[in-house]
Each structure stands twice: as C-alpha cells, then as structure tokens.
C-alpha cells in the first residue's frame, strides 16, 4: 500500500448523455482531510459514489486504500466507512439498535463494548433507547457517523455532513471530525461551505460542473479570490467620484453607485475607512463588510456564480 489513501486519475462519469464528472484527478495522502467543495449538482455525490464502489466510473482509475475500486471492490469496502448525504439511520430502531445492527453486519467489529463506547463518545447515551425517529437533525447525524465508525475504518467519506444542521450542531460535528483526524483517519469530505472546508481540510478542491477548477490549501485558494472588503454605497455619482479618489485601491461599480474597498475586516482598518470619509465630509448611504464566501470563490474561479453552477 502506498502512502496515498485515495488516488484518482481521469475519472469520468455520465448518466445517459449528461456528463457529470469530466476528468477528475486527485490524490489524498493518508491521515489528511481532503475537501471537495462545490454547489448542488457539481458532481460531489457522484464522486463519492464512485470512490466508495456504489457507482461505476465510465473511464479513469480510482484506487482507495491501495485497491482498485473497479476490480477489487470488496477490499475497498473493507477499508472504508461512508456517511451519505442524508442521515442513513433506521428510524424505527433505537439509537442502540442502529449501532448493534452495524455491529451484527460488520466483518471487522469484534469489540463487544463498541456500541456503548460510541454512544458515550457521541453523547447519545440518554437517547440510546429511543427510536431514531425522535432524534433531532444533529443527533441523527451523530448517530449516522457513529454507525460508520463501527468497523473502525481508516478512510472515511462524509458527503455533506453538516448540510441542514444548525450552527451549534455543525460545530459539534467539526469537533468530532477533528478527533477522527487526530486518530490518523483519512477523511474525504464534500461540502457546500467554504468555511467548513477552511476549518477542516488540509487540501481543498473546487468542483464545478464535473471539473476540478482549483486545488490547494485553504490559503492558496483564498489568495485566488477577492479578499474581505468594505462596500460603500453612495447617493450620487459626484460622491462616488470623490470617494474613488480617496481610495485608490478600490474598485467601483457605477451602476450601483458603490465602491469596494479592500480591508481585513478588523476594527482598525474599518475605522480608517470611516475616518477618511469623515475627513473629506463624505457620507455613504450604506456600509457593509463582505468576507469571501463560496459565491466569491466561484465567481473568481469559474467566472459564474453558484446559481449557474447548479444548472
């Protein structure tokens, strides 16, 4: 086995005449977190399905844990754990029964205490005897992930693990994922949120309409996209002209009578902007701080917004 947990080259997949994956190349070193970032319809789930042996590629090679997914699917399945896009828990079974089901079906779970251990680790002990249909979204996700961990897989695929969760549950999930990585597990994560990829991933790949349009660390990607800026909107062209002379590094939007002034978003740089406006007796109709989000990344990398990407 090589030190790469996942190696993909030239992966293509089409459904009938619709191309979903159009030549994907990526490599995930063992023990790292790799995040596939993209909007709905970009091909994230299809990628996960091919990498986890659930779907077959039309072309290209995919090796997971050193095994070819096409010819050695059984060995791949024995090495991986998958948490799909929807919490795949059995609603009519209790939390404990769900975990026990996984133990009963697993080839590798031999530790008799694993169910209790996982319930404790994911803070599900109190609800263990209640049917999963009564669980909140966050609890379902935790149970879902706990079920994936029953066989102690070394490579875990998480397809949008926090979509639909409230911010608090999302943070809990992030902490759990970080713990997994600390144990040396390789994580392949898909997400729609730049922040999530930023928080968790060692490497991020941006997927758009079946192609990887960028790959790199969070820092490398952020350098490619417009940074945090302050947006000032004025009521007249004269004011806009005057302000544009003050902030020479700003970019202007004449239609909206707005000016985008680069800023790090900190109070000092914000005060600076306000002080300068004040000094020249200029006042903006509207003042807002923008931090880059997925839309900005997309705009910068693909020339269109996520809305278009979702088509």
């Amino acid at each position: 086995m090589t030190s790469s947990a996942i190696e993909v080259s030239g992966l293509r997949k089409a459904f009938k005449d619709k191309v979903v994956l159009d030549g994907i190349d990526l490599e995930v070193p063992a023990g790292t977190v790799y995040s596939l970032l993209g909007p709905n319809g970009a091909g994230k789930t299809t990628t996960v399905n091919v990498l986890t042996t659930l779907a077959q590629a039309d072309a290209g090679t995919v090796r997971v844990a050193g095994y070819d997914v096409a010819t050695d699917a059984k060995a791949v399945r024995a090495a991986i754990g998958v948490t799909g896009q929807f919490a795949a828990v059995d609603e009519l079974l209790t939390g404990q029964e769900n975990l026990q089901l996984m133990v009963d079906l697993s080839r590798s779970a031999t530790d008799p205490g694993i169910v209790t251990e996982l319930l404790e680790r994911f803070e599900l002990i109190e609800s263990a005897q209640k049917p999963a249909s009564t669980y909140s979204g966050g609890m379902r996700r935790k149970l879902d992930l706990a079920m994936t961990l029953v066989g102690t897989p070394r490579i875990i695929f998480l397809d949008e693990p926090t979509t639909g969760l409230d911010p608090r549950s999302r943070r809990t999930m992030w902490a759990i994922i970080r713990d997994l990585v600390a144990d040396g597990v390789t994580v392949f994560l898909t997400t729609q949120y730049l922040e999530e990829a930023d928080q968790l991933a060692d490497r991020i790949a941006v997927l758009d309409q079946g192609r990887l349009v960028a790959q790199g660390t969070a820092e490398e990607l952020k350098r490619q996209i417009p940074g945090t800026h302050v947006r000032l909107r004025f009521t007249s062209v004269d004011e806009l002209d005057a302000a544009a002379r003050l902030f020479t590094d700003a970019s202007r939007d004449d239609d909206a009578l707005a000016l985008r002034v680069p800023s790090d978003g900190g109070t000092k740089s914000l005060r600076n902007v306000l002080d300068r406006l004040d000094e020249y007796s200029l006042s903006a109709e509207e003042f807002s701080v923008h931090t880059p989000d997925l839309d900005d990344v997309f705009l910068a990398l693909t020339g269109h917004t996520t809305e278009v990407g979702a088509r």
């Binding site: 659930l54 399945r77 998958v82 896009q85 929807f86 795949a88 009963d104 080839r107 066989g151």
Partner: protein, 249 residues
C-alpha cells in the same frame, strides 16, 4: 461473517419494522377485514353469485389481503433506498439477497397475519368451506406463492421509485387489480371489455383456484394457470429487483 447470518440480521430488522409500524399493520391487516365486512354485510345481498356470498367473496378477499400488504412493502423498500440505508449496507458488503429476501419474507409474513385475521373473521360471518386438509394445504401454498411473487415485484417497484410517495403510488395498480377480477363478482357479470380483462388477468385464475380448493373441487387447469402466473411474476420481480439493486446508488 457468513451470508446466512447476514440474512438473519436483515430478517430480524425487517420483522421489527413490521411490528413497530402501526400504519402498515393497519393497512395490511385491518383494511381487508373492513373490506370483507363492507362487501358481505353492506353489499353482499345485492349480488347473486349462486352460492352464499361469504363463501364466494372470502377467496377473493384473501387475494385482496395479500395485495393490501404490498403498499407497506413498497414504501419500506423505497425509504431504505432513498435514505441511503441500502447504500450503507452495500458498502458494508451485505449481500444483495440478504437485503432483498428480508423484505420479501417480512412482506409474506404480513400477508399470513392478514389472511389469518381475515379467515378468522370470515368464519365468524358464516364462512363454511368444504375443503379437506389437503385442499387447505393447497390454499396455504398458493397464498404463500402469491405473496412471494407479488412481494418480489413490489420490492422491484420500491427500489425503482424516486420517493416513498411514488413507491406507494406504484403499488396501487396491484391493490386495484383484484377489483377487476372475479374477486368480488364473477367476470361474466361485468360489462364488455372489463369482462375479457377480468377473465384473462392473472388474479382471476388464482382466485378461482383458491375457490376450487375451498369448495373441495380444485380445477387443475386453473391451478396450472395460477401457478404459471405466480412463477412468472416472481421471476420478473426478482430479475428487476436484482438489477435495480445493483445499478442504483
């Protein structure tokens, strides 16, 4: 872990589902009993079928009872598919036959409970079959075979449907089909078109065979036709379900 114990694990999960899902039990067990009451008490006197209506209707209602259970099977299979539970099983290398057979056996078990309840109520309403012990074995055998065949077809429908709602809808024709057979009234009392349909559709020979067994006068021709239909439906359902299971992710 051997495939056999995988099958047992899946089967016990599916039994738990049957036991814990009151709506599907209501549909599968109570609906046929309610239909029996309705047809025998409310409408029965209006039909002249040559024999006591309860004796005429009970075999048809047995078939209806099998079909009413299928809605629950379709929904159960589909929610496993669309929620990603089947994908989870696939990644765990749970063999296809373990997953699908669990659903089929649970469906057939529901049928048996429903038919036991139905026949019990029929006896209370004056059902008096003249079947020998051997004929009863024939009845049970055919009901099992029918349940098995329609369950495979329903599992396939459930796997192929986009959502639990469409899965339930896809099973409706199977639930409606008994009404256009000789279940309620003999086919030759129906209007042209429907009459021919009722005569040649699969459920009529199956019902006539059940009727024959229960009257103690089984007809070999009907029985062979019924057998052929059941095996045909089972084969189509099995092949379709297997292919869809492998293909859909």
């Amino acid at each position: 872990m051997s495939a056999k114990s995988h099958s047992l694990v899946m089967l016990s999960r599916d039994f738990k589902h049957v036991a814990r899902n009151p709506t599907s039990v209501f549909n599968a067990v109570l609906m046929p009993v309610i239909m029996l009451f309705m047809f025998v008490y409310v409408l029965g006197d209006a039909f002249s079928v040559g024999v006591d209506y309860i004796d005429y209707a009970t075999p048809g209602m047995m078939l209806l009872a099998v079909c009413y259970g299928l809605g629950g099977t379709a929904v159960s299979v589909n929610s496993d598919m669309t929620k990603g539970i089947i994908n989870r099983f696939k990644v765990m290398d749970v063999p296809r036959h373990a997953v699908l057979t669990g659903k089929v056996v649970a469906s057939v078990l529901t049928n048996l409970i429903a038919i036991a309840a139905l026949v019990g109520v029929a006896f209370l309403l004056g059902f008096s079959p003249s079947a020998s012990a051997l004929d009863w074995l024939g009845v049970i055998g055919l009901v099992l075979l029918l349940g098995f065949a329609t369950a495979w077809l329903t599992v396939a429908l459930g796997l192929a449907a986009k959502s639990p709602e469409t899965a339930a809808f896809a099973a409706v024709p199977l639930i409606m089909l008994p009404f256009f057979s000789s279940a309620i009234v003999p086919a030759d009392k129906m209007g042209p078109g429907i009459k021919q349909f009722a005569q040649y559709q699969p459920f009529t020979p199956i019902i006539e065979t059940l009727r024959g067994f229960l009257n103690g006068t089984p007809d070999t021709g009907d029985a062979l036709t019924a057998l052929a239909w059941c095996l045909g439906i089972a084969l189509v359902g099995f092949l379709w379900a297997s292919a869809t299971f492998t293909k859909r992710a």
